[in-house]
Symmetry: C2
Subunit: 467 residues, 2 copies
């Protein structure tokens, strides 16, 4: 058992003792160093940092032992029937509890805000304010501020999506984008296909408009089962489909190219609009920006929605949509819904994007998220009871965790909250109670003894519940 100040086995020793490759051990040590669990002393090797407890060292083993990692959840098997949606009150209550209790934010739906270049964006804000001249609301009538639109188009072009300024409508975050797109393509009472589990923002949009949701079987590695969706569509009318093909919240998958292509083809064949949520697209762990459904869309049936809330700044509430053939309708709905989007945040983000530095920020952000994902996965494997399953995200900032079937995650949520820890219970992500024993955990926060302790406490609560 290692204690603070203890020297770790050398990479070679650890490799031999654990039967792991040198590369795996090096990666594990780097990880633990980057999050402050251990520190490197030149010429002497790695040591357990003083402020960390004994479990930090133990976690080394967990982290390095890929063999011991918990299994992944199975492909979901939702019932093939549509349902009314009524999740928003649970979600709002959960989000408020996260904030009001100043609790450990494992239930937060946003990346750690300290990962964002807040100071630099602030500087652009201030510069715009100093440059004087009244901010006119008419400057930013839908579709939105021209500079921001140009920057968004430029970024899409750089990642291989062929769009022009006339394709973009700026919105109040992706939330409004998704709402407007759904209203443009379907009406109250219609059935909308979603992943299972699905990000609750999708369910909110359906709830707001009095539509029904039908959940489609979804694989934690490859996303929505396109064949299953097709089968459903052959048996009942589906007005639209809402998906998050990259780094889905909560599963973290990146849909394979072939599946993306098939999904868009299916939509085109049945004339079924597809609302694509791309808010996590910049948060990839792989080597290249993921492709988007929109890139396969020859007929304008994909309505792409995204925002800067997960990659640059959450508080500014700036999103956008590429509504394809529904552009005119979406622009009109934007005008009806909120008239225009706040001017200053649009201009500040446009100035930031114009000046450059966003890609450098994103590279750092992705590196941090991937490291923190590995660390939290390791600690969950270490402290959570046997039978726990966790996803292997390809990007994003959340883990989806399947607890032993006897666990009621709402009970865990309440008990954790009383102990100053928040989690997102599974029922927020479905119209059914299929995810009663699931939770979503946000791994984006800087690894601290407090977070480590929170994971351990959750593990203890779960153990007690299982007794």
């Amino acid at each position: 058992m290692l204690r603070p100040g203890d020297r770790l086995s050398s990479v070679r020793q650890a490799s031999q003792q654990q039967g792991l490759s040198i590369t795996t051990v090096v990666r594990a040590y780097e990880l633990l160093e980057s999050c402050g669990v251990i520190e490197s002393h030149p010429q002497s090797g790695y040591f357990v940092r003083a402020q960390f407890g004994r479990d930090a060292a133990a976690s080394l083993q967990a982290s390095a032992s890929a063999q011991a990692a918990p299994a992944e959840p199975d492909r979901s098997q939702p019932l093939p029937v549509s349902a009314e949606v009524d999740v928003s009150r649970h979600v709002l209550a959960t989000l408020k509890s996260i904030h009001q209790n100043d609790a450990i934010p494992l239930g937060s739906p946003y990346p750690d805000p300290t990962l964002f270049p807040a100071r630099r964006i602030s500087q652009y804000n201030s510069a715009i304010l100093r440059s004087g001249g009244p901010l006119g609301v008419l400057d930013d009538l839908p579709p939105g501020h021209p500079d921001l639109i140009r920057q968004i188009v430029r970024r899409h072009l750089e990642t291989g999506l062929s769009v022009g300024p006339g394709d973009v409508v700026i919105t109040v975050g992706a939330t409004e984008a998704i709402n407007l797109c759904l209203q443009a393509v379907a009406k109250a009472g219609d059935t909308i296909a979603v992943e299972s589990p699905t990000f609750y923002a999708m369910l909110h949009a359906i709830e707001r408009l009095g539509m029904r949701a039908i959940e489609i079987p979804t694989d934690p590695r490859s996303g929505m089962d396109v064949a299953a969706l097709k089968k459903i569509m052959q048996s009942q009318p589906v007005a639209a489909c809402m998906v998050m093909p990259n780094f889905q919240n909560p599963l973290g998958f990146e849909m394979p190219e072939e599946n993306k292509r098939q999904l868009v083809e299916l939509g085109a064949r049945y004339n079924m609009p597809i609302i694509e949520n791309g808010v996590c697209n910049e948060l990839y762990f792989g080597t290249a920006h993921p492709s988007v459904l929109k890139a396969y869309d020859k007929r304008g049936i994909v309505l792409y929605c995204s925002s800067f809330s997960k990659s640059l700044t959450s508080a500014y509430r700036i999103g956008w949509t590429l509504p394809g053939r529904y552009r005119e309708q979406v622009e009109k709905l934007k005008f009806l819904n909120t008239l225009s989007t706040s001017t200053l945040p649009q201009r500040a983000i446009a100035a930031y994007l114009t000046a450059g530095g966003y890609d450098r920020h994103l590279r750092r952000l992705r590196r941090s998220l991937q490291q923190r994902c590995d660390i939290m996965s390791a600690f969950v494997g270490r402290f959570f009871p046997a039978g726990t399953r966790i996803t292997r995200p390809a990007g994003g900032y959340v883990l989806w965790i399947e607890l032993p079937a006897a666990i009621d995650s709402m009970a865990l949520y309440r008990q954790a909250l009383a102990a100053g820890i928040t989690i997102a219970p599974g029922r927020l992500f479905s119209t059914s109670d299929a995810y009663r024993s699931f939770i979503r955990m946000n791994y984006s926060y800087n690894w601290t003894p407090q977070i480590e302790l929170a994971i351990r406490r959750l593990g203890e609560m779960l153990a007690a519940m299982l007794e």
Copy 2:
């Protein structure tokens, strides 16, 4: 005929020549001086300013001659049937034309932004940004930022409305507030009672939700005819009523106390929610803040909506609602619609209101608006053809102008736009074509030779159309 540099008659002479009281002439001279048409030379009297044309001097007569002022429009007589609403595309096209053509903004729906204390609010913005710390979106989940809510409550209490922080929900401008409130109280296909003419934001909310509008006879001095509304309600179901009881856009009236009381009583008796638009309440020309319907509301059926867009800053897009008994539902809908309102503008406005100076700004703003109202009314009376009628606003920043019946205001709108002048044609303010020969003009802009010329050009266009 006076020319630039000419000396005006003395007050006493003008009084005798025109048969007006000394007070009236003094007020007229002050007005013309405050807008730069004439200037006072100590010991010598008043002179026509050099950069003004001959008509500026002529306007003196128009301004001073109350007898010659055009008549007011009659009480409206809309048909007592509900109608589908489809005005938003006209409105969006009009607003875009106002901006894109850099035209004389007589059609603008906002007060002249140079009347707002942009620099001071900017300073609070910058100070908040400098104070550091990431802006967290969870800080401002519905109902909104606590500091801003406290300031809004304080101001309501100061004007005699008894509300607490728990009564307020912050929104993206009054636009979103009105949308959320309407969605909370009625459903698609329902009939909503509105003034005739009505502010198009009300019609937008109805259109967005697929409801129908029924227009109620409205007096340019006293507002919606409550007895006529009652009669309608006895013959058909009316799900809700949307009114702007103070300084209505476009009529400018302030509903008498007794009418306000009767309207709320009617709503209470029939259990009909009333959505009250209070966006112009701070822009009164009288001596005291106008009362609100909400003050008569004992049963929580009035949903009060307002914003800072007409009195402090248009571009920040910050509004609020006091949804009465529908509070929980409205807060949930806010969450579903846009999640939260942008953080920085909320905090900047809260800081401005906390620091003080808003009332001083408002006093100046009201004085400017009242003077500019008098000036534009005088010039319209001077240059528009006989038979023109104009309102006598009790506050706000727009005139509603009834042109001779032969005029098609859409034709005037197009012709004016080609000449670099915007107006708001009457059809934006109704589901019917009852206001085919009406226009709304914004009088809030600083009086310049360009604006004077625009009024004259409009008069010439009208004269040509009548030939």
